[in-house]
Symmetry: C2
Subunit: 316 residues, 2 copies
C-alpha cells in the first residue's frame, strides 16, 4: 500500500515562508497522509483513500482547492476536480462548481453514479445535490488571504502590458499564488491504482477558464497497466502536453520506469515548452515519483509500515 | 496538401436512409472539403482550412454541431469545440456554449487571443463576444428534427430501466442520433498539421455534461511530431482512453504508422472497452486514416490535384 499527495507546485521558497506557516503546511500534509493511509489499512480502496486525503486538503485554507480556492476575476470561487480508477479506467470530473463543499466527492459521484465522465457548472451542482453531497453557500469558500491576493494581482496586471495571445511560460508567469492544486495517487492492498486532483484553478481567471485538473489525461490519469498520476502546475501547458497520460504512455510503449517517464515529461518536455509544475505518481509495484520543475512543491508519501514523509522545497 | 473531414459516426445504415438524404449528406461533405481545400490552395494554413471546412458543417442542419446540434434534456443546445495547431501545439477549446454561431471559431479565438486553452459556458460566450465573433439568438440552433429526436429519446428512456452508473457501451447505447460530431484534420503546404472538432454533444444530455470533443488529447490532438486527429463517438469512452493523443503516442513511442496506430486504438482498444466511434487522422507525409468501429461514419478527403471523395457506410 502506498499513498502520495501534493498540495501544489510553484515559486515556494524559504525566504517567503515563516516558520509557523511552514509548520502548518507540513502538519496538514501529514494529516492528509495519515487519514488517507488509515483508509487503506482498514481495507479501503485506493479511490476511497484518495477522496479522504484530498478532502482534508480541500477543507484547509492553506491549499488552492475547496476552502482556500483562489478567486476568479469576478471575485468568485470556481472549482474543478477529477478522479480515475486504475482498475476499470472509469473516471469522473467536475468543472466550474461553486457550492459543492468537497469537489473531489463530486468527481467520485460522477464516476460512480452517472453515465458521464465530465459535468460542468450549474448542471454539475444540480447532480451533486441530487446524489446527496454536501452543498454549502459559496461564501464558505471565501478566505480573506486569497481575496487580498486577487486584489494584488489585479493591481499588478493593470500596470503590465496586455499578455493576450501568450499562453504563459515557466519563466515569467509562474507563481504559486496564482496556480496551485491538490492531488493524491494510491496503490491499495488489492493491487489497484487510482488518482485524483482538485483545484480552485488560476487566480484572477476569466471567461470560465478550465485548467488541467478536471481533464482526464492532462491533470489526472490512472491505469493498472501503467501508473496513477496527479499533476499540478500551469494548466494550459499540462493540457497541451497531455501530461498525466504521457507518463503512462512512455511506460507502456517505451518501457520506461515510472521515474524515468515522470522525469522525461516534467523535467524535459515541460521545461522545453516552458510549462511550470510537477506531478506525483505511483506504479503497481509501489514505486513513486514526485518530480517538479519549480522552486518547490508541497508533497509527501507514506508506504507500508513507514512513517509519513513530507517535503516543501527542492533541497529536501 | 491534404484535408480529411468527418460528420459523425454511428449506426448509419442504408436501410434508414432515403436517396435524397444520402445525397444531401454527400453534397454537404463535398462542399466542406471544397471550401477547406480552396483555403489550402490559396496558401492558407491547415488551421484556417479546418475552420472553413468545419464552419460549413456547423452551418448545416444535417450534422450534430452548430445549427443541427442535438438538444439537452432541458431542451437547450449546448455546444463544444476544440482546435489544435500541430506546429506550435497551441490549442483552444470551448464547452457548453449556446449563442456562438460557429463554435469552432471560438476555439480558434481562445487559442489565438487568450492565455487560456479552455473556456466554458457564459464566460466563453462573453469572451467570444468581446473578440467580435458572430453571436446569435440561441433559437437559431433549434431544428425541429432534433427536437423531435429529443422527445422520442425521453419517451424511450422513461420506459427503460435506469442506467445510472453505466458509462454506456458500444453494444447497447450507441446510436447516431444520440451522438455525433464534425471534425477536420489538415496538412498545409508549409508542412504543418492541425485538427479541429465541433459538436452539439449527446442528445438528452444532463447536468452540464462535457464529452470528448473539447478535450485536447481525447477528441482533438495535433503535433507535427506525429499526426493530427479528430474523433467522433461515445465521448465518455474517448475521454477515458485519451483517444486522439494515444494515436500520436503509438506513432512516437512505438514507431507505428498512422494507420497502424489509428487501427490499434479504434478497432482494438476502443472495441475492447465497448467505445463506439471513429477518428480521422493525417500525418506529415499526407497519409490518412479514417477507421471507425460503428456501422457508418460520414467522412471524406481531398489530396493534391485529386477529387474530393466522400463515404458514409462501411462497405464503400
Amino acid at each position: 500500500m502506498t499513498l502520495v499527495i501534493h498540495g501544489g507546485a510553484g515559486t515556494i521558497v524559504k525566504e517567503n515562508m515563516t516558520p509557523e506557516k511552514e509548520a502548518a503546511y507540513r502538519q496538514k500534509l501529514e494529516e492528509a497522509l495519515a487519514k488517507g493511509y488509515s483508509v487503506l489499512e482498514k481495507g479501503g480502496t485506493s479511490l476511497e483513500a484518495i477522496v479522504a486525503a484530498i478532502s482534508i486538503m480541500e477543507d484547509s485554507p492553506l491549499f488552492n482547492a475547496g476552502k482556500g480556492s483562489v478567486f476568479t476575476n469576478e471575485g468568485k470561487n470556481e472549482m474543478d476536480a477529477s478522479i480515475m480508477d486504475g482498475k476499470t479506467t472509469m473516471a469522473g470530473a467536475v468543472a466550474g462548481v461553486t457550492n459543492i463543499k468537497n469537489p473531489i466527492t463530486a468527481a467520485m459521484a460522477v464516476m460512480n453514479q452517472s453515465k458521464h465522465v465530465m459535468m460542468a457548472g450549474a448542471g454539475a451542482e444540480k447532480f451533486a445535490k441530487q446524489v446527496g453531497l454536501e452543498i454549502v453557500d459559496p461564501a464558505y469558500f471565501h478566505t480573506d488571504s486569497r481575496y487580498h491576493q486577487l486584489q494584488k494581482i489585479i493591481k499588478k496586471e493593470e500596470m503590465q502590458l496586455d499578455h493576450d495571445g501568450d499562453q504563459g511560460s515557466l519563466k515569467n508567469n509562474y507563481n504559486d499564488y496564482k496556480y496551485g492544486t491538490v492531488g493524491a495517487v494510491a496503490l491499495d492492498q488489492y493491487g489497484n491504482l487510482a488518482a485524483g486532483t482538485s483545484t480552485g484553478g488560476m487566480s484572477n481567471k476569466r471567461y470560465g477558464r478550465i485548467g488541467d485538473a478536471p481533464i482526464i489525461g492532462a491533470g489526472t490519469y490512472a491505469s493498472n497497466k501503467a501508473c496513477a498520476v496527479s499533476a499540478t502546475g500551469h494548466g494550459e501547458y499540462f493540457i497541451r502536453s497531455v501530461v498525466a497520460y504521457d507518463i503512462a504512455a512512455l511506460m507502456k510503449y517505451k518501457n520506461l520506469s515510472l521515474s524515468q517517464a515522470a522525469d522525461e515529461v516534467v523535467m524535459k518536455k515541460l521545461v522545453a515548452t516552458g510549462g511550470g509544475g510537477g506531478v506525483i505518481a505511483v506504479d503497481k509495484k509501489g514505486n513513486i515519483a514526485m518530480p517538479f520543475n519549480t522552486a518547490g512543491m508541497y508533497r509527501g508519501y507514506i508506504k507500508a509500515k513507514g512513517k509519513a514523509k513530507v517535503f516543501i522545497y527542492k533541497e529536501e
